[in-house]
Amino acid sequence: MSNNTRKYSLVEKYLPYILIAPALSYLLFFIGYPLTQGVLLAFTDQNGHFTLQHVYYLLYSPSSNFWPALEDTLALAAVIIPIQVMLALGFSLMLSANFKGKDMALYILIIPLTISDVAGGLIWYSMLASNGFFNKLFMTLGIINQPIQFFGWQFRPMEFIAIVLAEVWRATALVFVIIFAGLQMISKEYIEAAEVFGAGTWTKLRHIIFPMLKPSVQTALLIRTLFAFQVFGVVMVLAGRDIPVLAGEAYYEQTILYHYGVAALYALIIAAISIVIGYIYIKMFKAQYLREVSM
């Protein structure tokens, strides 16, 4: 009897660890092993000797696209993210008002959450192709005589714009959902207090709503920035390698050129950048009032 109780309480004590262990082991294996393997691939040759040849290839070889890829990845992030944050803030404020059809509008705005980057790219291809919606519309309206070309090597800046449009269209929903959730959490009385004490719309936004939304905006920024370094499908669909990006180059080196070491190096670089960004984020944004806001 007493032996039984003891056994039971021991099981109880270790139960949470027993429940978590399978998931954790799985994750540690499927992330730890590839990362270790990745380091091996990146820094050894076929015979298993240490080498920097992949690093040299990546950085200096004329057939490597690393620097342009880094540049375009950053450029895309720098253009896309601010637009997304602004739009998401606008949508969030819009949906914090009460109006008929509000739920419907909310569902519509979050549809892109479930649409993949490949599909998002194709959907915008249907809008921008030379036989696409916009070209046919504007030509029929007589605004343009010739289709505006968005795709092809010679139209790289237009391809860039197409990617920006597709990504803003598809991935703003994620930023929106985070900021909207944050806005919902702000007690209405904080805003009403500002109103009573004389704040107009702009003062309310500037001094109450934006500061209190800061944690949500920061979270959204972090997640969007991390995703920006993984951008792949939409670029491949709309521009191929015309606009090189880090993940795209990794894919190319791996599956077309069979440069496994170089591809692994790309993977490590993307992982390293993400970890550094996450670390900086945690260090930098420890707002003093965070505790209360999240309450």
């Binding site: 949470p16 499927f30 590839p34 959907i123 036989n131 959902v177 993400s274």
Partner: protein, 276 residues
Amino acid sequence: MPGPGESAPIRYYLFKIVFAGIVILSCTWILLPIIISILYAFSTPQDFYNPKEVIPLHFTLSNIQKLLALGAARATMNSIIVAIMTVIFSFILGLPAGYAFARFAFKGKDSLKLLIIGLRMFPMLVIAIPLVTLYIRLGLNDTLLGVALAHTTMALPFVILITSSIFVSVPVELEEAGYVFGLDRKQTFFRITLPLSLPGLTAAAIFTFIMSWNEVFMAAVLTLTNRTLPAFILTSAMAAPDIIKFAASFIMILPALIFVFIARKYLVSMWGITVK
């Protein structure tokens, strides 16, 4: 007295009209590209290539049929199999962990939870490239199981966090009532906690499915002949004529659109929780 009462409603209605305009514009921005791409996916080539036909008027299934004949039928099947396997694996592994985080206080809980949140943010696509070497050794390369195992890695942190928050939302008193009236922990879980969490868990399973269905990088790296749908589109369908591509995008977004409709109630809260 020239009451402000009379001028206020006018300004009020003006504001209402402008506001309605903004709402409609925002919704159009999202809906129009979806509608157009679906219309083009079903339009006849004559309509699509006619510069005067902005909105196609003649529709056909031939684009979809051609795409399926090109190999998309098998790819779609592969995608469904991989997604279902991913849901099963990640829930078998993730559900117990989610329950542990929701219902136990134990040493190291906060650090473990932080680790899971960190892994949720980790760019999982990077594991695909080194995994190839392992998969070749294990005979998993170019198999659907191999893709599903990689997708499970991606989905698992999400499943743990989301199931944990679903279990937290079941009032602990209801479980305690179960204990008081003679159920043990296992019975309480299966008879009280699980039934109460079922709608949320279903939504979470749907999102896990979509996550796998949409993933392209790992699938494209880890398969060669057994392509999933996005990988197939990326490698094969890009060479096809435009309307075939639109057909491909239609098949890609179809389950997503259906699931959004079913689980729309959960969409905002789910992302709100798991990305925090």
